[in-house]
């Protein structure tokens, strides 16, 4: 999964920055990253947009950016201090 060369990673990071600019202001979007869908670990890496459980896929999320696939997954995160 990490066999992609430096060129691919450079492209992926640029694409992630573009995707972040597109969607991060949406309140349902929790994270934008480069990775593999945790539910499909055999899949090729791409860009991941994590949205809140139950949220609808935000408008304007492209299927690809510069040839790098974009996937939408669900997840909610909190900081983990014990109280």
């Amino acid at each position: 999964m990490s066999e992609h060369d430096q060129h691919w990673w450079n492209m992926a990071r640029q694409a992630r920055a573009q995707l972040e600019a597109l969607v991060i202001s949406n309140p349902d979007v929790r994270m934008v990253s480069i990775g593999i869908d945790p539910e499909q670990q055999g899949a090729e890496p791409g860009l991941l947009v994590t949205i809140r459980q139950g949220a609808t896929v935000p408008a304007g999320v492209p299927n690809h950016i510069d040839g790098i696939p974009v996937r939408v997954i669900y997840g909610d995160y909190q900081i983990e201090q014990g109280e």
Binding site: M31, G42, E80
Partner: protein
Amino acid sequence: MNTDHLRQARARQHLHTEARRILYDPNYNVTLVDYGAPVRTSNADDRPTLRFHVDKKRTPAELEIAGIPTVPRYIGEFTTDIVEGRYQLHTWSAGNSARVALPNDPTARYDPLRGGVSISDLFHYQAGTLGGLVRDRVTQEDMILSNFHVLVVDWFALPGKRICQPGRLDGGVVTDIVATLVRHAMSSRLDAAVAKLTGSRPLVNDQLQIGPVTGVDQAQLGMQVKKFGRTSLRTDGVITGVDGVTKLNYSGLDREIRNVVTIVPQNPLKEVSAAGDSGSWWLNVATNAAVALHFAGGDRPERALGMDMQSVLDALNVDIVTASAADVRTLQNATSRVMPGFTLPPTAVDPPFQVAAQAEEALVGR
């Protein structure tokens, strides 16, 4: 991911939704729900399935007479199973004469300090995890690395704020102060902070139960990692995301955190992190080098979030202090104090780390 893995993942979703609803509905008298091998005798499908544990199995007629609803026969693709099981808390009481502190209990008081144990600032009734030992690149002072929300907490906190071990939630008081706050990295969008050791107790490079840290590795997709945290103890995971940017709530304010690494549990049915684990270090299983600083997580689905360790170290201008012969000697001589009258057995050092320490000692001796 094979089909069993996917089936487990789907089971996990059901355990969090429909099965949990039944568990919390008192009408069902269900004491536990889990995913495991079926114990039924009349079903050809012996694959693991969703199981509902009850004090006593009853026939449909008995259930009807008692007014107890029946658990659905099917949930999704799973044929449910009913298992007899009676459970109670295994609590310690004053009548237990042979009280022995559990080895590797991260909520205990540690001397010397080590990564993985409970810590907090002195003013908030909470606890996070002491990440490990770092050294200031300029002053060469030894410091604790953990999270902003563990060591700093308040936006208006000033350097010099006192840090105690164990954390306040685990009984830490003013006599347990071990460090004072120096700086944090929230301005770099990293939930990280360092505190200078007071010298009251040394901090050794030896993560509780998982050994000394050997350096820093870059997070890679598919890398197997492990951590020891104050609440979920040792957990193992796999990195599925890097270079993330996320938004999280800090004391009512949404803040953006960057350089995020996503980790899923190695075993999809197990927890990968929990509240109180913040500040722990994710290590590469293959090298024991630090990969990420844990700070957040989610239960649905189960995932942990860390921040790329090298980015954290650069932002705070510190380096990890790696294993040294002095650490090993300190560990060998250490007597950990848990509380008056109780002694914690020294942590066993895994054989590979003993070998690594010997190699380190040989290098130091040159």
